[in-house]
Each structure stands twice: as structure tokens, then as C-alpha cells.
């Protein structure tokens, strides 16, 4: 680059020489023309002048040529052949440098203080879709899109203000065809020998990196947006350091200000006190076994509100970051609330149908209370008479008192059972023996069975494991199935009316309850609809019984199904999972 002006000045010296020769000739010609109108005596004079002029020009030329020749001779003689070789090497090196300059896959620009392109390499021009000549002498802003021009100008300005210092920046350029190109530019202003300020710029194409960066930034942005929309944050847990790295959304969910990481103890403080021990147990176990984990818990926010979250973590081994668990945590408060509302609605419905069913059983239940009550009153009267005897018969009196206690308790139990079914109690799952539940229901329907002349067959397996269930809800399921069985046998006149209730364990060792009747049976066309809400074939039916039974059994993790019998009637079965440790 430095060489060009040198070559140029040398060339201008030659021009000057030719120019002065032309000037000389011109002067002679001018004089000739000026003197043209002179009389005939003049030609001699003119010829003389011309001659002198030519002579003078020749002399000058000879003098000049001679000086040059003398110079050359001196050079040739003085420097000998080593110098010649050096020059040759210089020439070669210059050509090489020129080659490098032209084809180095780096774009070079030289612009003046006003931004006019003084020079550009072929590669640089080609990268922008131009030829060198298309750019030379033009404003360099031509290769910047409108929105970058201001930045480009100020970048050059900065260089000009700090002469000799290298500055670098990233900027977007525009090709001739309008496509864009990201570059990283290194630039520096220098003062040329002629005192002119120029800016040298070398730029490398970083489009690919920039695109990757943009893509990354965009995907990060999408991720953040997705996290915000799905209310799911992510976290990384370095178990050793007790530091947790959170995404923005995780900070938002937990209600902390964004920070690079957060201390585990701080996080634990935010967990609902009732859930804290359980969370620590889960994470502690995951840590010691270094296994994936998943759990739901509540957060108690500073304003007293409660959030429900669900977290899942995957055990990883990333030695570079030291992260042991990577996971996601979702704010499921809205879903939990909806679930709770649905559950509430279902419970209300179940309650209504339960009370309706009990209403139908009122006479039977009244009888169940009245029997022990009658016994109590009679025993009390007998007791008084034993005591009134002379002497009082204390042994008999005591016997009647024992009976009174027993029967009073029995009446109380019936009432309590009815009250439990009538009450709208919240879920109370506890380990229970299904056989007990069945016996409790039977005590309420005994007389209903009697009135319908139905004989009850009980086959309760004595060695059943416990099931974790809500007693009242299971009573309702069994009650519904029994009432349906009773109703299905109402029209039966030609055979004994038999209802069977059986408990056993199925092949999967789940508890299975079977209620079988010999009633009208199931019509195949109704098989799919039996469990639909409001499906009924009874004139006074509500059609809610089986639908509620199924939702209760489902909520217990079991299955309720119906099948026809080989003989007359229908069979309903439901299963219940066992009271397993760690069951959700």
C-alpha cells in the first residue's frame, strides 16, 4: 500500500519531462504564429528563432538524458549485482505481498477522513459483490445498510480521533445484491507521508458466528418466553456446593429476584412448612442414590398465598459445570385449583346421590335403629323388674344392663354410619379392610333385602390385605351396586332372588370386590353407556349411581367394570390397589 504513491510520483516526473518538451515546442510554435503576419524579411528571423528553440530543447533533453544516464551508470557501477538481486527480491516480495493483499481472505479497505474509498483489495470487493473499481473513489457508506451507516461513520470518527490506536467492532454490511454480511472490523487511523489522514480497515466475515449467536440468543429468548408462558422454570443443582442455578422463570415462580444462583437453604424456607420435611426426604434420597426424582409440593409466599409446584429432576454427570441434577419446576397452582374445584363438584354430586340413596333406604335404616332401641327399652324394663323382686335378682339385672350397653352401642353405630354417609366429609384416605366396609353397608340394607325377599350370599375372603381408601366413598360404591342389584331383581318372580358379594385378590394381587345378582341383566346395546352420567333405564332413575361409582373407584386407582352372567343377571367388579409403600 505504501508503494503506490511512490510509483505514482515517479511516473509524474516522466510526465513533467514530456510536458516541458511539449512546452518548449509549443513556445516555438507560438512565436511562429505570432510573427506570421511579419513581412518577407521575417522568415529568416523566424527560422533562426526556431533553430535556437530546437537547439535549446535538444540541449535540455540531452542534459536531462545525460543526467539520468549518469545516474544509472553510477547506480550500476556503485551497487554492483547484489543490489540488483535485492531489488529483484524486493520486486518478488512486493508481488507476493500484493498477492497476499489481493487474495487474503480478509477484506482490506483504506478510506480517507471523509469515508471515500482510497483502496480496497480484490477479495474485499468481491466479498461485497463489487469489483475494485466500483468501490474506488466512492463513499464507503455504500456497503452499509441505512441503519448501520451512522454506526459506520462514528466508528471511523473514533479512529480519526485516536490516531494510531486500533479499534474493533462488529457491524453488518450489505452486498451489491442486497444480502447482508456480518463483519468484525479492526481499524486504525494513520497519517500518510503527505500528511493526509487515512483509515486502514481490515474486516473478517463473522456472518456464520453471528447467525449462530443470533440463533442461540433467539432460542434463549424463545426458551425464556416458553418458560414464562408454561410457568415452567428450569434449575441446575450442584449438590456439593448447595448452590442452585435457576432460570428467570424459576426465580419468578419462587418469588425471588433474579440472581446468578440461589442458596438451597433460602429455597427451602419458601417451601410450605407442612411439605418441607417431605421435600427434604425426597431430595435427600435422590442425592444419596443419585437418582432422578419427581415431586409436588406447596410454596408459602411472603404475602401468605400458596402456590402448588411440581418439580422433576434428572441426575446428570456434567463434570465441567459440576451440576448433579438438572430439572424443571412448574407452577401448577391453576391446574390444582381447577382440579380441586372439579373434585369439589364431584364430591357434591356424590353427596347428593348418597343422600338420595339413603332416602330410599329410610325405612330399612329406621328399622336398623329401632331394633336395638326396642331391645334397650325392654331390657331396661326387665332390669327394673329384676331389681323390684324380693330379694332383687342382681345377676339377671346385671345381664340386662350388659345387653343395654351392647344394643345402645349398636344403635349408635348405625346412626353414625348414616351420618357419615349424609355428611359431606372431605376425602379421608386411610388403610382399611374392605370386608368391614361391606359389612357396614349390609347392616343398612339388611331389611331392604328382606323386604324384597332377596337372600344375600357373602363370600368375604378373610385374609385380605388392607387398602388405602376413603371409607364413606367405598360404602357409597358398594351401596350403589347393591341397590342396583336389588332393583334389577325386582321383576324376578320365577326364581330365588340372590345377591352375592365376594371379596378376593385378583391375579395382580389387587383387592377385588364382586357384586353379582340374578336380575334382568345387561342389554348389550347399553353396555357402553352404563357408566355415563344420567344414563338410566329406570322410570324413577337418576342415572348417576354407576357414574359416581366409577369416578370414586378411579380416584382410588382402581377399575370398575360390568359383565353379564352365564345365567341370568349382571356382575359388577371393582379393584383397589394395595396399601403399598411409596404409592402416590
Amino acid at each position: 500500500m505504501i508503494r503506490k504513491p511512490t510509483i505514482k510520483s515517479w511516473r509524474s516526473a516522466e510526465q513533467w519531462l514530456l510536458g516541458s518538451m511539449a512546452l518548449a515546442l509549443g513556445t516555438v510554435a507560438g512565436i511562429w504564429l505570432l510573427l506570421d503576419p511579419v513581412p518577407m524579411a521575417v522568415p529568416h528571423f523566424a527560422a533562426l528563432v526556431l533553430l535556437i528553440a530546437s537547439l535549446a530543447a535538444s540541449l535540455i533533453m540531452i542534459g536531462l538524458a545525460g543526467r539520468t544516464r549518469r545516474q544509472m551508470e553510477a547506480m550500476l557501477q556503485g551497487r554492483a549485482s547484489a543490489e540488483a538481486r535485492a531489488i529483484e527480491t524486493l520486486r518478488n516480495s512486493e508481488a507476493q505481498w500484493k498477492e497476499v493483499f489481493e487474495h487474503n481472505p480478509v477484506m482490506y479497505f483504506m478510506v480517507d477522513a471523509t469515508g471515500t474509498v482510497l483502496s480496497v483489495n480484490t477479495f474485499g470487493a468481491a466479498q461485497l459483490g463489487y469489483s475494485v473499481s466500483e468501490l474506488l473513489g466512492k463513499s464507503v457508506l455504500k456497503v452499509f445498510p441505512a441503519e448501520e451507516q451512522l454506526a459506520a461513520k462514528s466508528n471511523v470518527g473514533v479512529c480519526l480521533e485516536n490516531i494510531g490506536q486500533t479499534h474493533s467492532w462488529e457491524i453488518c454490511k450489505v452486498r451489491k445484491d442486497g444480502s447482508s454480511l456480518w463483519v468484525r472490523e479492526n481499524a486504525k487511523a494513520v497519517r500518510r507521508l503527505d500528511n493526509q489522514l487515512i483509515v486502514l480497515i481490515a474486516c473478517e466475515d463473522i456472518t456464520e458466528r453471528k447467525e449462530a449467536e443470533n440463533a442461540l440468543r433467539q432460542s434463549e429468548m424463545y426458551l425464556a418466553e416458553a418458560q414464562r408462558l408454561s410457568r415452567t422454570g428450569s434449575f441446575g443443582w450442584r449438590a456439593g456446593s448447595d448452590e442452585i442455578i435457576w432460570s428467570e422463570e424459576t426465580f419468578r415462580i419462587f418469588g425471588f429476584d433474579k440472581a446468578p444462583s440461589i442458596n438451597r437453604a433460602t429455597v427451602i424456607q419458601r417451601i410450605h412448612p407442612d411439605d418441607r420435611a417431605r421435600v427434604l426426604r425426597t431430595t435427600g434420597r435422590a442425592l444419596s442414590e443419585w437418582k432422578d426424582f419427581e415431586h409436588g409440593y406447596r410454596l408459602l409466599m411472603p404475602d401468605g398465598s400458596v402456590k402448588h409446584v411440581h418439580a422433576r429432576a434428572h441426575a446428570v454427570k456434567d463434570t465441567s459445570s459440576g451440576i448433579d441434577f438438572v430439572g424443571a419446576v412448574s407452577d401448577v397452582t391453576a391446574r390444582k385449583r381447577a382440579e380441586m374445584e372439579l373434585h369439589e363438584a364431584q364430591a357434591t354430586l356424590a353427596h347428593v346421590t348418597r343422600v338420595t340413596a339413603l332416602g330410599e333406604l329410610a325405612a330399612s335404616i329406621a328399622h336398623e335403629v329401632n331394633q336395638p332401641l326396642a331391645a334397650v327399652v325392654t331390657n331396661a324394663a326387665a332390669c327394673r323388674r329384676w331389681l323390684d323382686r324380693d330379694p332383687p335378682d342382681l345377676k339377671e339385672a346385671r345381664g340386662t344392663l350388659e345387653s343395654i350397653i351392647k344394643d345402645g352401642t349398636r344403635a349408635g353405630e348405625v346412626i353414625q354410619r348414616v351420618r357419615a354417609l349424609v355428611n359431606k366429609a372431605p376425602d379421608q384416605k386411610a388403610p382399611l379392610n374392605i370386608n368391614d366396609v361391606i359389612n357396614e353397608v349390609i347392616s343398612l340394607v339388611q331389611h331392604e333385602l328382606l323386604n324384597h325377599r332377596i337372600s344375600l350370599q357373602l363370600e368375604l375372603s378373610p385374609a385380605l390385605p388392607l387398602a388405602v381408601a376413603d371409607r364413606v366413598q367405598l360404602q357409597q360404591v358398594i351401596l350403589n351396586l347393591v341397590i342396583n342389584g336389588i332393583e334389577a331383581m325386582q321383576p324376578v318372580m320365577d326364581r330365588p332372588r340372590e345377591l352375592m358379594i365376594r371379596t378376593c385378590q385378583d391375579e395382580a394381587r389387587q383387592i377385588m370386590v364382586t357384586v353379582k345378582d340374578c336380575g334382568v341383566g345387561l342389554a348389550t346395546e347399553n353396555a357402553d353407556r352404563l357408566f355415563d352420567a344420567f344414563f338410566t333405564t329406570k322410570s324413577g332413575g337418576m342415572g348417576m349411581g354407576l357414574s359416581i361409582c366409577r369416578s370414586i373407584v378411579d380416584a382410588h386407582g382402581g377399575r370398575l367394570s360390568a359383565s353379564g352372567n352365564a345365567g341370568p343377571g349382571a356382575t359388577f367388579h371393582f379393584t383397589l390397589p394395595l396399601d403399598q409403600e411409596g404409592a402416590p
Binding site: A366, H367, A375, T378, R453
Partner: protein, 222 residues
Amino acid sequence: MTGRQASPSLAGAEDPIVFVIDDDSSVREALSSLFRSVGLRVEAFGSAHEFLQLKLPNVPSCLILDIRLPRVSGLDFQAELAKADIHIPVIFMTGHGDIPMTVRAMKAGAVDFLTKPFRDQDMLDAVTAAIERDRNSRDEAKVLSNLHELFATLTPRERQVMALVTTGLMNKQIAAEIGLAEITVKIHRGHIMRKMGAKSLPDLVRMAELLGIGPASGQPQT
């Protein structure tokens, strides 16, 4: 649970017995205790079937029956007893809301009904009345069977004469009616009075009434 309660042996004793049939053992035991406390013999059963296994002793007794019984209802059982010619006063126990059944029971000859829970005195009064009634009907039945036995000792002619005497005819009229001498009628009449153990003519008339002897038949109508 067997329905039998500890009680003195049935054989030999002449004391009245109360029978109880209820499928609920509590009620059964309570009633047993009540009756025993007033010195009544009691036999309790869980079902009508168990009761029927028993050979009923010939003493004044009554039956207390729950109107709702498994398998055979109290009402059906009452009908069954009547068909089997077992005459025992029945007291029904009913629950609330069993009014239609109660009406049917009364029509079918139940002596009383009590709604559970009942007052002990009401129950004892009902039982006492029922036993009294049973004793009376048993006494009547005994008198009747004695009369039948005495009547059986009469000759056919004497039966004929007795029928005519008890309708109020004079000896002369009877003699004319059946073509005997008046004196012969008089002798027959003496035999009849002696054989039947009648102290007077009105006494004999009452006996004829009990035996259902009409002038046309001369035979007892039972």
C-alpha cells in the same frame, strides 16, 4: 344362635308359656328377660321354622311374632298356623310404618299388636290377656270334649229323645212324635239326665247348645 332360652322343662309343668319369634337376638333376649322377671315361662326362636320343630305342650300359651321375618313373613306364618289347625293367640310386633300389615294381621285374627319399642306393661298386659284367652278357650275345649265323651255313651234313641227334650217339648208330645209310650220317654229322659250328669233341664239345654244338637239331626254339630 339358637332361639332356645334357658327355661324350665316343658314337660309336666302346667304353667303358661310365652313363645317369641324374632330374627333379632337382642330383641329376643330382652323379651325373654322381661317375661322371666315376672315369672312367665318363655321360649324364643330366631325363625318360624325353628318354632315349628317344636311339639307344642298342652298349656295356656301365646305367640309373640315380629311382623317382618326373613324368608316367611309374620303374616304368612300366621296363615300357615291356621291352616295347620294350630290355635294359639298371636301378638304381633311391628315397626313404624307397618300399618297396612297390622290391619291385615288383625283381620286374620291376631289378638293384639305392639309397635316397637313398646312399654313393658303394655306387652305384659297383652300377654296376660292372650294367655287368659287361651286358657279359656282351652277350658271350653275341655268341657266340650267331656260332653262329647258323655254324649257318646247315649244310645241312639236316647240322643233322639235328648234332642227333642232340649227343644222344650213335653214328654207326651215327644212320645207322639216318635211313636213311644209316654212312660218310655220318661225312662229315657231319666237315663239321659244321669248319663250326661245334668242337674236340671236348663243344664241339659246348655249342654245341647254346646254340642250343637238340633232337633232335626239329633247329632252334635262340630
